[in-house]
Amino acid sequence: MLSPEERHEIEAEIAHYPDKRAVCIDAMKVVQKHRGWVSDEALGDVAEFLGMSVDELDSVATFYNLIFRKPVGRHVIMVCDSVSCWLMGYDRVRDHLTSRLGIQLGETTPDGRFTLLPIVCLGTCDHAPAMMVDNELHRDLDAEKIDSILEQYK
């Protein structure tokens, strides 16, 4: 069941469009904001709310890598593996992260603190290598810097 708050936020989006299916991405973002991810159950609820079939909504959901269809940790680290970062040492950043956190890309730490995901281009090539944690951008990374960044997220 969608919470009253979620419904309210989705309805606010619907007001902007002639067809409520148009807000399907926003609706899933609303759910994700509140729950961290979009479960099958939540997907069904949103689909019903928007008059879509679950298949239709899941088709949209799975197209976007930032709609999470599996549970994620409290903080999501997205490390850029695009060209500039790759040239500037993405490998080192990735290896440091995986060894520090003890997980591979696509995995979540056992304590549920971090999920590590690759991402293509964070739009900050002049400060490569870069990563994003939740909604914050971190640039010109090296091992030391990464360690202190991770400390900020509990």
Partner: protein, 901 residues
């Protein structure tokens, strides 16, 4: 017409085509994937690239997608150009990177468009060394197999399923290299036309799961043109055999009838032919039980019963061929022949035939239904009764919106652009039926009411169209304004259509539909009037004539008859059980000819095993009034033979002279055409057995048919001579004419380099148009030029719910309501469980909830059924699943008390 240049030669091509269509129509081998003639172009796969030149001076040219480029006047292209050719090879190479290369174990192998295109482009060796991506497959239910690794992301499946067929539970998931086509979760595909994915998917992702159980490659199948027997529409099919058993049904294109698509009942219902319920031996009653009896002995027995017997009557069948019915009619004499329809069924079918014959409205073909631009469906749930009509109506609602896209100068084949411009706008479609239908989502407005009220709506529409049509006094305001809305929509249409039929068991509904059509015709509109028919040959049986069942029962009751021959008919589905029992018990001799061991067969003294459709030749008349011939795919084993052959043997046993002059199908057809003028034209339905092409018969098996010489080696190492076929111009062999047989005799579609069903392009006179030589079938009913007759005038009284009784109304199910297909395991699995449906208000009144047991009392018999709540059923009506629960009895609607248990 436009003049285009292909590789420096000019050609005339049709207007409004894409270059791809034009090239295919000209016979070029130009590869493609995402384009489909019924789905149009989206330019997704990039497989159809050609070089286009600005003018004769342009030597560089540029690559274009031929499916996205109009074949406009003066267009210059090259297919052979090296850049274009290597581009096309590169596209296949890309698509094949992740393909499992598992053709030897793939059900599509040997009739795979991907194989054909790969060979055509010359991509022979895989150079990629990366690991291939793999997917987990889904169980999509009993009809369709899923093997996602073979996908080439052409998007045809979702375009067909969602946009063409209106399904909503199949989609594309994820992105990039991971795109997955399937359902959100495993489970049976819900759309009634899902089976067409088998032919839509150019590779082996979606394949026929029923075929998998008894798999045979296309090249090893012996095939014959057939006609679907699972409803009255007469979709054309290909029936395919190996080792004496029916393996599968495939769509057989007929530009006027089914086009590219079948419904799932028609595609998967065939397994009844292979089923346990088949009678294979001649059976005779011995010590109270039916036991096998050698065929010769059975004939002897007939010889004792029939000669000189003045008390023989014959009961024909609306599911048997004209030929079988006619042979029976000849054996017993026209006045002792009964059509085998229920009383009410026969009454309604006669009424519909009369209306069609009188005109002024003409009965449209399925392809005409598809291009109707305003439609009224009165009293039918077409998806569940005559399913292929529903698929046609889903296209009809695009007709008016496409007039808008025409104005925008978007060619109709540019599918994505057209759909973007149209969005969700739909043309007028009105559905009036007792309960919700599966087509309601496409409807402009729906109306739920009891049969009498449906008729009243129809009469009111007719009156709104033409004041001379009788009015409906005291019509509720809501219905009145709906009637006016519908009348206005039909009136302003170019090709309005009215669809009705016998499903609500109501003559008034049919008459009301006829009035609407008459009202439109009188105003000068080219209106179509389509009736569904209860069975595959209902209209044919009616054209043949013969009394109804009560008359047959009476003949025995009054002692005028004591010997009954029943042809392919289970009387228990046509009359109340008690009456049938009385009839069969009173008759001294009951001889049944059938393929299934029905309750009627169980009561007979002699049961003769008949060939089912794939084992028989004959003619069926569809609800359009189109006579269509079907042919044996194989000669059945054991004692099984075609019904009309059994009847010829009976004639011989009875000492009848016809037996001497009738030995082949053509003999029966000739006598039939001569004897019954309404059916005289059936001789034109297909060439006779004498037909030869280049001096040869048409081969039923493809050139590559294998194992011919060793199939029977366990019995005899010498290869036996293929069996003769005296009844058709087809040969039970791969030897014979293969290339372009006449359409009604085309056993399979195949062309060099085109092993898949896509070879069809080579058989059409224009893409998506008629088959070369004309679409099969001959129309028997055309309305006269000048209309005669007048409006029907008996408007029924409004339906009045009774305080403690409910009107029992049959609700139809594509899976379960039809007698033959429900014996097919895959179809049976999808059939609903028995139920009795009422609306919520009535349920509350009865103090029942969904699942509670309720008792129906009908003609002294009590039936216990679990309650289902259908919120949209009108008050006072109880619905039951037709065929799954047999409350039909007389075919008339009955009232019953309902009691909670």
């Amino acid at each position: 017409m436009a003049k285009i240049w292909v590789d420096d030669k000019w050609y005339e091509v049709g207007a409004d085509q894409s270059l791809l269509e034009a090239c295919l129509e000209l016979g070029f081998d130009l590869p493609y994937f995402c384009w489909h003639p019924a789905l149009g172009s989206v330019g997704a796969c990039r497989q159809c690239a050609v070089k286009q030149y600005r003018d004769e001076k342009d030597t560089r040219g540029r690559l274009v997608m031929s499916c996205m480029t109009p074949a406009s006047e003066g267009a210059r292209i090259s297919i052979k150009d090296a850049d274009a050719a290597s581009f096309r090879a590169g596209v296949v190479e890309g698509l094949m990177q992740n393909h499992p290369h598992d053709c030897p174990v793939c059900d599509e192998g040997g009739e795979c468009h991907l194989q054909d295109m790969t060979v055509m482009t010359g991509h022979n060796y895989r150079q990629t060394t990366y690991p291939k991506r793999t997917f987990r497959n889904q169980n999509l239910g009993p009809l369709i197999n899923h093997e996602m690794n073979r996908c080439i992301q052409c998007y045809r499946c979702v375009r067909y399923y969602r946009e063409y067929a209106g399904g909503r539970d199949l989609d594309a998931f994820a992105s990039r290299n991971q795109v997955f086509f399937g359902r959100h979760q495993e489970g049976t595909l819900q759309n009634e036309f899902a089976g067409n994915l088998v032919e839509i998917c150019p590779t082996g992702v979606f394949t026929d799961k029923t075929l998998k159980k008894h798999y045979t490659r296309k090249w090893d199948l012996q095939m014959a043109p057939s006609v679907c027997v699972h409803c009255g529409l007469g979709c054309n099919t290909t029936a395919a055999e190996r080792y004496g058993s029916l393996r599968r049904i495939l769509n057989r294109y007929n530009g006027h009838v089914n086009g590219y698509f079948l419904c799932d009942r028609g595609r998967f219902g065939y397994e009844f032919v292979r089923g346990e319920q088949r009678i294979k031996q001649t059976l005779a009653r011995q010590d109270g039980k039916l036991k096998p009896l050698p065929k010769a002995k059975a004939i002897e027995q007939l010889g004792r019963v029939l000669p000189g017997n003045q008390k023989v009557i014959g009961i024909g069948s609306p599911r048997a061929s004209l030929e079988a019915n006619f042979a029976l009619r000849t054996l017993v004499g026209p006045e002792r022949f009964f059509s085998g329809m229920s009383d009410q069924g026969s009454h309604l079918v006669s009424l519909m035939e009369e209306i069609l014959r009188q005109g002024p409205a003409r009965t449209p073909s399925l392809s005409e239904i598809e291009i109707s631009d305003a439609v009224l469906v009165l009293g039918e749930d077409v998806t569940n009764v005559a399913p292929r009509i529903a698929l046609a109506l889903r296209q009809s609602v695009r007709q008016q919106p496409m007039e808008f896209t025409d104005k925008l100068k978007i060619p109709r084949w540019l599918d994505h652009a057209v759909r973007e411009a149209i969005q969700d706008v739909k043309g007028p479609l009105f559905i009036a039926a007792p309960s919700a239908t599966r087509l309601d989502d496409a409807a402009t407005a729906t109306y739920r009411a009891a049969p009498d009220d449906l008729a009243r709506l129809g009469f009111a529409i007719a009156h709104a169209l033409d004041p001379q049509a009788p009015d409906v006094p005291d019509l509720a305001a809501g219905a009145r304004s709906l009637a006016e809305q519908i009348a206005a929509a039909l009136k302003s249409a170019k090709r309005p259509l009215v669809i009705s039929g016998p499903s609500s068991s109501s003559a008034a509904v049919i008459e009301a539909a006829a009035n609407v059509a008459r009202g439109l015709a009188k105003a000068g509109q080219a209106v179509g009037l389509a009736f569904t028919m209860p069975e595959a040959n209902s209209l044919g049986a009616n054209l043949m004539g013969g009394g109804d069942l009560s008359a047959a029962f009476k003949a025995v009751e009054e002692g005028r008859a004591d010997t009954v021959i029943i042809l392919e008919n289970d009387l228990y589905l046509k009359a109340p059980a008690a009456a049938v029992d009385r009839f069969l018990d009173a008759a001294r001799h009951v001889i049944a000819i059938d393929y299934l061991s029905t309750p009627t067969v169980a009561k007979s003294e002699l049961a003769l095993p008949a060939g089912a459709f794939a084992e028989s030749d004959g003619t069926l008349v569809s609800s359009e009034g189109r006579a269509q011939r079907f042919f044996q795919a194989y000669i059945p084993k054991d004692d099984i033979q075609q019904s009309w052959r059994w009847l010829i043997e009976m004639m011989r046993a009875a000492g009848r002279s016809e037996a001497e002059s009738w030995s082949t199908l053509d003999d029966v057809i000739a006598a039939l055409a001569q004897g019954i003028s309404a059916l005289a034209k059936i001789t034109e339905a297909a060439p006779s057995a004498k037909f030869r092409k280049l001096g040869e018969k048409i081969a039923r098996a493809p050139n590559r048919y294998s194992g011919r010489t060793s199939m029977l080696a366990n019995i005899n190492v010498s290869e036996p001579k293929p069996p003769d076929d005296p009844d058709s111009a087809l040969a039970f062999s791969m030897e014979g004419y293969q290339e372009h047989p006449p359409p009604s005799l085309t056993p399979f579609f195949w062309a060099p380099g085109w092993n898949s069903i896509q070879s069809l392009n080579k058989f059409q006179s224009e893409i998506k148009g008629p088959l070369r030589g004309g679409d099969p079938g001959v129309r028997l009913i055309e309305p006269p030029e000048t209309a005669n007759g007048s409006f029907f005038s008996s408007v029924p009284k409004p339906f009045a719910a009774r305080p403690e009784e409910w009107l029992l109304v049959p609700l139809y199910h594509i899976f379960g309501s039809e007698e033959l297909s429900r014996q097919a395991p895959a179809v049976a699995e999808l059939a609903p469980k028995p139920y009795l449906a009422v609306n919520s208000e009535d349920a509350a009144h009865l103090q029942v909830q969904a699942g509670d047991q309720i008792e129906v009392n009908l003609a002294g018999t009590a039936h216990r059924l679990p309650v289902a709540i259908h919120p949209d059923l009108p008050k006072g009506i109880a619905g039951f699943p037709a065929g799954v629960v047999s409350l039909e009895g007389t075919g008339l609607l009955a009232w019953s008390k309902l009691s909670r248990l």
